[in-house]
């Protein structure tokens, strides 16, 4: 059953009348009949956790917003830029009204005056579509003054970024939206606090997939949602599968589904029959890489189970590599990404990614030494935990974990030098 990718079952659900005919805006209607704090309690009870990567409990995040503050905002993180992630895109392309409905429920729950949807700049066409959706909603009284006759007012706007991974980091996103460089802020104050959010007002920043779950929770009830998945990972998750599988794509599955079921039953198994799976990046470039052993394959794709095998689910951008792939090359590719996307604010990340890239290039060229492999591991370990945002940690991960799990892949490039 799809909660999110309903466009696959219901033709034209991206049209407002079709969305309404299939229960659209029932969740907002239910919410508007409740007290705002009661809506937050329902979302808390559902066990919904943030789908952008960090997995923070959504209802708890909403409850941090001080009720007495007169001005509050919701910003939707639609900057989807993690290597290998393409789920928010499908939700917004094929089921846009559900995202907007979820955003409005969040806005009502914290009594926000406006919602800003921050899209990565490359989602230009999606931005146009969402703008048209917002206008259609305004005409029918779902957006603007006195929403559905409730007396609650809220505006919804889109904002296009312009090509910067860092703007998916919530405080960088807020800076970018305010017209400053998209660089992370020092916290506290956190976005939920006065002084830390958009225009210094208390702000909820939630991922697209997170908010698209909310209408279902309000119409079906927290218990129904909580019954899906595992104890600590409620609901479905959209898993983005790419790389060496037969059928790459998005798969929406309960969070107790195993990697084996995803990769063999849904994604069709190895792209080339005669090649075995070698490794998986389960959370794009930013999470630790793992070898695709039987133990890993039989692990459920939940927040807590992923931790047990030494990695994270994150945004669930699952990149699969077969036995022909050299992990030194993978480390290089991912490092080039983070070097390009480092915003330059914190020295360990700005300088660290630059030097990691140079030394890995040397290793790949056959000009490196065994000491170079130790050197990049050392640089990576010294970056981790030393930066304002997680990008520095993300950039350290591919080095530390590719060397840990696949030392031979590095050794083959440096052996000639001795």
């Amino acid at each position: 059953m799809h909660i999110l990718l309903r466009g696959r079952e219901i033709a034209n659900i991206k049209q407002l009348d079709v969305y309404e005919a299939h229960g659209g805006f029932a969740g907002l209607k239910v919410s508007l009949a409740m007290k705002p704090a009661e809506v937050i309690d329902v979302v808390k009870a559902s066990g919904l956790r943030g789908r952008g990567g960090a997995g923070f409990p959504t209802g708890v995040k909403w409850s941090f917003i001080p009720q007495h503050e007169p001005i509050k905002y919701v910003t939707v993180n639609a900057d989807e830029s993690e290597t290998g992630t393409f789920k928010d895109r499908e939700i917004m392309e094929e089921n846009p009204y559900q995202l907007i409905e979820g955003s409005l429920i969040c806005a009502y729950a914290i009594q926000a005056k406006a919602v800003y949807i921050y899209l990565r700049g490359e989602f230009w066409d999606i931005g146009d579509q969402l703008d048209a959706c917002i206008e259609a909603l305004r005409e029918k009284g779902y957006v603007g003054k006195n929403i559905m006759g409730s007396g609650y007012d809220c505006e919804v706007y889109t904002h296009l970024g312009a090509g910067a991974y860092i703007c998916g980091e919530e405080s960088a996103l807020l800076n970018s939206l305010e017209g400053y460089l998209g660089q992370p802020r020092v916290r506290p104050p956190f976005p939920a606090q006065k002084g830390g959010g958009l225009y210094k007002e208390a702000t909820v920043v939630n991922n697209v997939e997170t908010l698209a779950n909310v209408p279902f929770i309000l119409t079906e009830g927290a218990e129904v949602f909580k019954a899906i998945g595992t104890e600590q990972s409620a609901g479905n998750k959209v898993y983005c599968v790419s790389g060496h599988v037969k059928k790459p794509g998005n798969y929406e599955l309960p969070m107790n589904t195993t990697f084996r079921e995803l990769l063999y039953e849904h994604a069709g198994g190895p792209l080339h029959e005669d090649r075995a799976f070698k490794a998986m990046l389960p959370s794009g470039g930013s999470g630790p890489i793992v070898p695709l052993t039987d133990e890993v394959l039989d692990t459920p794709m939940s927040y807590e189970d992923a931790e047990k095998i030494g990695t994270i689910i994150g945004s669930a951008s699952i990149i699969i590599m077969d036995e022909t792939v050299d992990m030194t090359w993978v480390a290089s590719k991912v490092t080039k990404f983070f070097k390009h996307e480092s915003c330059g604010k914190c020295t360990p990340c700005r300088e660290g990614t630059y030097w990691l890239d140079k030394v890995i290039d040397r290793i790949l060229d056959g000009r490196g030494s065994p000491d170079d492999v130790k050197r990049i591991a050392d640089v990576a370990e010294n970056m981790a935990g030393t930066t304002l945002c997680a990008l520095g940690d993300f950039a350290a991960n591919p080095i530390i974990h590719t060397i840990r799990h696949f030392p031979d892949d590095f050794a083959q490039h440096v052996q000639a030098q001795g």
Binding site: L160, G179, G249, V325, H340
Partner: protein, 168 residues
């Protein structure tokens, strides 16, 4: 040519100025408008955006320089940004990118001699299941191979014989 006082952009500029709490927030959408008008973010565009928002041109230029989608030099009619990030590279995007540059006779970031095509590689575009792919003037073109690309290049060359497609 200008964006200030240009009826083509008046309503859009007003819309962006109205939707934010501060004028400064409109710097990104206004830079896109400048890029659309001039084909790139040139000094005139920077000056105009700064004037509309009561900012210093240096502040506007720093924003333009931070993001990859604002071009700080002229481009070809068709700006081709090929994703060569890991998931696409696993499906042959590096080879595709190298082939495309050779086919058009351009270096990385360069423009073909006829001024038609600028080619550069970019990071993940959230189309990993449809590799190789590229973005042409910000619109996605997916599931590519050399044959499809040759057909597209021919089509775009024909198109360009007509009106300008307009950069956004």
């Amino acid at each position: 040519m200008a964006i200030i006082g240009n009826p083509k952009y008046e309503a859009r500029i007003d819309h962006h100025l109205a939707k934010y709490e501060t004028k400064r927030s409109a710097v990104m959408p206004l830079l896109y408008i400048a890029q659309e008008e001039y084909g790139w973010v040139n000094p005139e565009g920077i000056e105009e955006v700064a004037q509309i928002l009561n900012l210093d041109p240096t502040q506007v230029k720093s924003i333009a320089g931070f993001y990859t989608m604002y071009s700080e030099r002229p481009k070809g009619e068709y700006w081709l940004q090929v994703c060569t990030d890991l998931p696409c590279a696993l499906k042959g995007a590096d080879d595709f990118h190298a082939w495309l540059k050779e086919e058009l006779g351009v270096e990385e970031g360069g423009t073909s001699a006829d001024g038609m095509f600028t080619v550069e590689h970019v990071m993940c575009l959230a189309a990993c299941d449809k590799a190789p792919m590229l973005q042409c003037n910000f619109h996605y073109v997916e599931n590519l191979d050399q044959n499809k690309m040759r057909d597209l290049l021919a089509k775009w060359r024909q198109e360009a014989a007509g009106a300008s497609n307009g950069h956004r």
